[in-house]
Each structure stands twice: as C-alpha cells, then as structure tokens.
Symmetry: C2
Subunit: 259 residues, 2 copies
DNA sequence: CGGATCGTTGATCCTGCTCAAAGCCAGTGG
DNA sequence: CCACTGGCTTTGAGCAGGATCAACGATCCG
C-alpha cells in the first residue's frame, strides 16, 4: 500500500497509526495478467481493490466493439471505494499490464470511516481528484486536437506517477500500446502513431519499449495547455490541516464532533 | 428542497425526520440571473449550493475563449458537496437560465454526516451518479457522432428531469440555445442546428421556444445507444435498504457501528 | 523459423468545422 | 404602429483534421 499512502499524504500527512492501518488492511494480494477484467460492467460490485503495481483502466465497450477508455488507474488508485452503494457496475475496469491488486473488505472500509477520520478525509479528497481527472478528459476530448490530447495525457500520467513515486527524472514506465492510447484519446492507432512522430520530431519526448522520456516538459505542457492544479496535489486547506494537527495532539485519532 | 428530496428518494426512502432536516437547512435562497457564475475557477470554495430551480452547468474556458460544458445541473443537484476539502475550484459553475440556489453551511453538512446516516449515504450515492454522468459524457464525446451525442444528451436530461418531477409526458422545459448545446457536445452552433433538423425530420423530437417534446423515446434512445442504468435510479442494494429499515425500527437515526 | 503483436506508411474519403450572410423573432424606443 | 436592435436560428460553400483500409516492417517469443 505504499503508493496509496504516498498519494494520500499529498492531501495531509497521515499519522503513524493511520499508516499502520492502511498497511494492515492491504494484506491480501492478487496477481492479474494483462487484459483481464478486475470488475465487469453489469456485475454487482464486491469488495474494494487498490492497485499496487501495474496499469489498469476504466472502460466501456460500444455495441460495435469499439472501446472507450475513460481513465487510467495507476498504483495507489482505488478501484471502487464507494460502489457498495450501487447494485450494478456501469462500466468495466480492466488491466493493461501485469498487475497486482489488493482487496479490502467492505467492513474494513466502513470501519475506517468511523475510526480514522483523517484517512476518510484523504480518501474523499482522492475521489474529488478522480472526478477532476474525468472532467479534464472531457475538456481534452471536446476542445483539444489530437496533438494536444496526447500531450495532455502524457503530462497527466507523468504527474500522477510522480505523485506516487513511480517517476524518475522525467522518465516513466508507460507500457501502453498505441491502440490503448487511441482508445483513451479517441484516435485511431495509425493516427496516434503519426502524432507521436510529430512530438518526437519536435524533440518533446521519446517513447520506446514502454519507456516514456520527456525532454522538454515546459514546452510539452504549453502545447497541451496543461495546468496541474486540477490534481490538487498542494495539500488540504489550512483549517483542515489544523483540525487534524489538533486532533493529533489530543492523542490518537478521534471523531469529528457534529455541531 | 423538494427536488433534492425527490432525487435522493430514488436511492432509498428518507424518514420524515430526514426530510424535515433537508427542508430546514435549505432555507437561505438566492436568485441568480442567466450567465452568472455561481462559483468561478480558482476561487476558494465557500458553502455548498443546491439548485432549486433553473438550469446551470459546470464548465471550463480555454485560453482562446472557447468553452467546454462538462455537465448540466438541474434542480436538486448539488454544486459542491465536497469541496471544502479543496483549496481551489478547478472549474466554474455558471447559470444558463434564471436560477435559484439555496446555500448550506459547511457545518450543517458535517453535522449531517454524523447524525443523518441515511442522508449521508444518499448524498454519496448522488456523487456516484454524477461521476457516472461524467464518464458517459466521455464515451459520448469519444465514440458517438454528432447525432448520437445530441440524442444521448436529450435522453439524459429527460430522465434526470423526470427523476426530480420536472418532466411531463415526454415533454420537458429545456431553454438551452444551440450554442450552449454545442459547448456541451463539442459541436459548432451551426452544426447543432443541422443535427437538430435531422432529428426533427425523422420526427423524433420537437424543440421550440425552450420546450423539448420527445415523440419517439424508443427510437431516440436506440439512435443514441442510451441505457439509463448508469443513472442508478433503481434504488440501493437490498442489504443497504434493510440496514436502514432496521435502523428505523430501532427508532431514530443512529450511527453505523464500526466492526 | 513461424506466428503474433505492435509500429509505420500511404492513399483516399468523410464528418464536422469555418466563415459569412441572411432570416427570424422579441423587446425597445420613437 | 413602425423602425431598430440584438440575440438566436438557418443556410451555403469550401475546407481540413482525422478516419479508414490495406500493406509492409519490426520485434519478440516459443
């Protein structure tokens, strides 16, 4: 769970107790091959999964077999924190690479809501981040051309992987095929290829053998119109921070108290 | 707040107490003219707003002035249930028609989390519905052509308005300009016009003077590839229902108890 | 070595964009 | 009652970004 912990700490530092709790619940690990559904559309959602290594995506299939990838899941991302409230999945989650997921019991989640307010708040924050990512994809699909869309996606993945410690010096492992990129960007594989070439020709990136190297993040971001503030990596508002710090001093996690 | 109550009851029937609570907190009403921001990108989110009449949207502006509407807000929708966790809005919310909103104090929200578990669960459910709507927009923008996108949007709005009691017999008030539709569907106004004509010629709809009449919902849905299950209007899973019913019998709202 | 899978390239086509102008109101003021 | 205005809708002609389809190269792997 180190990725999840690292991700959540972008919102607010967790206490040792909180971290221990997260380590403890993420014990049962499952390995999955590429192109396998973690949960499929129409299924009744079961337990909650945290991605601990690999790459996955939320997607939906059209009647004619075309696929739209709606978002990527990177290590530390939670498959379905919430869905025990729903009777049926409205989309599928599938792996893209060999992947490890860690299952959490629904009861553990509910337990956490009542005994680990800081984790709860951080999980909530991460839901907001996810929503923001979806909104940005809408903007990208609606208003950016092929080049901008691709550049935007690369910037986003770079920052998200960076946020969980999976990015080196402007290098990230990104073993996506051009078809998968196309399914996310709504471009045909051939066209993804052409656009990638354009980015290479401008010497913005290299992408070879599943390794993405970004040469000029400045100019790539400018081309994409990318502004990372929507990822909300800057931490919680000060009142919320203070609230948790005060809680810490009083010793141990406690409840909010309703007014 | 009758729209909100009606919407939430699609998840699970609320107790009288819950309904009273919702009525009580939605007292301070504010009126807004069309084309006015309720909250703007970059602002620090303040209180939570519930739309009680009119039509609004979440949108983002590009550097060159183009606008992408990411989702529409109809009566009963909550502007920002959550955002007190964030330091900065990553998008704007603006009115499209004359609109009434009702402000709720953050403290009231937090209070509700701890004393009205059924409302809390229902609000959570509505967040999930919102996320699903965003995902569907991604699919529509990515994989449907102009006609399908428009048809899909009309179906969605019909069902959402129906769910809050604002739709008559296949008729809804929908005072959107073709430019606004275009900003949501990522089409130019002229093209929206042409597609509308196509739908009219096939006798699927009439849209005149802000009144949308759907003549053949069957065929319109088929054209759009619309399946309303993503709106999750079918109610909560049976365990959750039972949980709340049991709670009801024991008398009065209570906490979940962590395991 | 043979077969898959993925990447690259080329030729051609079509959906939806652009820009511009004209029609159609509803409201306003004279 | 009419002229004027400003927003919205409608129509037209031409254009282009990206799709489609097909074939050819790489590369990996058994």
């Amino acid at each position: 769970m180190k990725h999840l912990i690292r991700k959540l700490s972008h919102f607010a530092p967790l206490s040792h107790e909180d971290e221990a709790k997260l380590q403890e619940i993420g014990s049962s690990i499952e390995e999955l091959p590429p192109d396998k559904d973690v949960v499929a559309e129409g299924e009744r959602p079961r337990s909650v999964f945290v991605l601990t290594s690999g790459l996955a995506c939320r997607y939906k299939l059209m009647e004619d077999g075309r696929r739209q990838i709606m978002s990527f899941l990177v290590p530390g991302d939670i498959c379905d924190l919430h869905v025990f409230l729903l009777t049926e999945m409205d989309h599928s989650i599938g792996t893209l690479t060999p992947t490890r997921v860690s299952a959490i019991e629904t009861a553990e989640i509910i337990n956490m809501f009542f005994h680990h307010p800081r984790i709860t708040a951080a999980l909530w924050w991460s839901m907001l981040q996810e929503e923001a990512i979806l909104r940005e994809r809408i903007v990208a699909l609606g208003r950016r051309n092929a080049e901008g869309r691709l550049a935007y996606l690369l910037c986003e993945l770079l920052w998200r992987l960076e946020a969980v410690g999976e990015a080196g010096d402007d290098v990230v492992e990104l073993p996506l095929t051009q078809e998968e990129l196309g399914d996310a960007l709504s471009l045909t594989p051939s066209y993804v290829n052409r656009v990638l070439q354009k980015l290479r020709r401008k010497d913005f990136i290299t992408l070879r053998g599943g390794l993405l190297r970004i040469h000029d993040l400045e100019r790539l971001s400018a081309l994409a119109g990318f502004d990372r503030s929507y990822l909300h990596l800057g931490g919680a508002p000060s009142e919320i921070r203070k609230h948790f710090e005060a809680m810490e001093k009083k010793g141990g996690p406690q409840h909010y108290r309703g007014s």
